[in-house]
């Protein structure tokens, strides 16, 4: 049976649609937004959908507006994602996510000897470095270690 592409994921009346997520990263997007099993709003997502620019993931969060700061964190794992704010089934605002210059408490430093991996009462802190259009690196503000790969695997 032929399934219409737009039925794979329903349009939402009100909420946020995160589009053009790097294929395979939708679950990490939820993690980076701190969305876990106690999150009450309806979430739907597609992974590896075919789009004009190749495969992508899409996440739709209903009745929920995330802060710009929260959304911008997505750049760490998917620099080209776009954000659509939906009201009455219409896109009322469309933005590209913007790379933050600093992130706190969302990624673990991969240096096992870093003080931020000890039992001290601190959160991890990184300055964000743009390597190129597709890649982002993080530099730990404590130990100066640079994480340039596998950021998604080190989300807290």
């Amino acid at each position: 049976m032929r399934v219409k592409r737009d039925l794979k994921i329903q349009a939402i009346e009100c909420g946020t649609v995160i589009d053009h997520i790097k294929a395979g990263q939708a679950l990490n997007v939820l993690r980076i937004l701190g969305i876990s099993s106690d999150f009450r709003a309806t979430i739907s997502f597609v992974m590896n959908a075919s789009g004009a620019r190749g495969k992508k993931d899409v996440v739709k969060i209903e009745d929920k507006n995330l802060s710009i700061e929260e959304l911008n964190r997505i750049t760490l794992i998917s620099p080209k994602a776009t954000i659509n704010i939906i009201r009455d089934f219409k896109v009322v605002q469309k933005n590209n996510v913007v790379l933050p210059s600093y992130v706190e408490g969302i990624v673990r430093c991969t240096n096992p000897n870093c003080i931020s991996n000890s039992s001290e009462p601190i959160k991890s802190k990184f300055s964000v470095l743009q390597e190129d259009e597709e890649r982002v690196a993080l530099q730990c503000l404590y130990c100066e270690h640079i994480i340039s790969e596998n950021i998604a695997e080190n989300l807290l």
Binding site: N113, I115, S116, S118, E120, I122, Y142, H145
Partner: protein, 308 residues
């Protein structure tokens, strides 16, 4: 210029003007460091020396610097007998010791510990070495030695030995790049200077050359900064022996050196500099150990604000 209440965590936190000011201050304090002149600038000040790992040289030179300036030191004592063993974290230790001392010198095995300490201490922190990241007083004393024994501006310097893991050479490269320099890195291929550091230096207009032979470059440098290659960096002991034999400074090697060449080494050395070199005018490594005293005096006096 005032550096009162400034933390000293990494040389990268200081501008060239601030570094020059610190070196100028150290030079003025040299007669006091030698004991030729008495100057009790730290009279009435308490300096906490919190060493969470052993480091005889750094600890003793800080202690000597404090005594020369008439200050008093507080020691942690052995870590085993301290509150650390009762499970106190470093953050609380910093909050507590801030009430007891005017400044804290911290040496800690974890990377980034000194930076974290600044978030909890209410007095200035001087980083006496945090894990494998920064050891700014070593870098300041290296710069001071180069300035006193040679010159900083546009220096032709070679750094040799373990350039991959050596934090002293990494910080020194950065600091020297503020003065313009021609740098040559001499190391076995497995211990080369990390490529991102080489790239940063080149982006800052520094000329960089890499080789594995001291013979090739000895006639063309004004300062040779030697470091120890550690055996534990090699899986194969035979490979270590090979590298060790290639990277050594002997009287023979120096026969083709520039007469004004100065050799520095953060010490302790093992056998990378032969004893026959010690009596030549090239040997500056023991003077370098002395320069650690005026530099630490300067940093203590500037951060506590007794010199402004």
């Amino acid at each position: 210029m005032s550096l009162k209440n400034r933390h000293v965590i990494s040389v990268k936190d200081f501008s060239r003007e601030e570094i020059d000011y610190i070196l100028d201050t150290a030079e003025k304090l040299e007669p006091v460091a030698k004991g030729e002149k008495r100057l009790r600038l730290l009279d009435g000040k308490i300096i906490a020396l919190l060493f969470f790992e052993p480091s005889t040289r750094t600890r003793l030179s800080f202690e000597a610097a404090v005594h020369r300036l008439g200050g008093q030191v507080l020691h942690l004592g052995s870590v085993e007998a301290s509150s650390v063993m009762k499970g106190e974290n470093l953050a609380d230790t910093m909050r507590v010791i801030s009430n007891y001392a005017d400044i804290i010198v911290l040496r800690h095995p974890l990377d980034g510990s000194a930076r974290m300490a600044t978030e909890f201490a209410s007095v200035p922190i001087i980083n006496g070495g945090d894990g494998s990241v920064n050891h700014p007083t070593q870098t300041f004393l290296d710069l001071f030695t180069i300035r006193r024994e040679s010159h900083l501006e546009g220096l032709k310097i070679a750094m040799a030995g373990d350039l991959k893991y050596g934090r002293t050479v990494h910080s020194l490269c950065h600091a020297l790049s503020l003065y313009g320099a021609e740098m040559t890195f001499v190391s076995p291929p497995e211990l080369r200077m990390p490529s991102e550091i080489v790239r940063d230096l080149q982006n800052n207009g520094i000329s960089v050359k890499e080789t594995d032979s001291l013979e090739e470059i000895i006639g063309d440098v004004e300062v040779l900064y030697m470091t120890r290659v550690q055996k534990e960096r090699f899986l194969d002991p035979a490979e270590y022996e090979k590298v060790k034999n290639k990277l050594k400074i002997t009287g023979d090697l120096l026969s083709t050196a520039d007469p004004n060449l100065k050799i520095l080494h953060p010490l302790p050395r093992v056998d990378e500099i032969f004893p026959e070199v010690d009596s030549t005018p090239h040997a500056s490594y023991f003077k370098q150990a002395f320069y650690g005293i005026p530099i630490r005096m300067a940093l203590l006096a500037l951060a506590t604000g007794v010199i402004e």
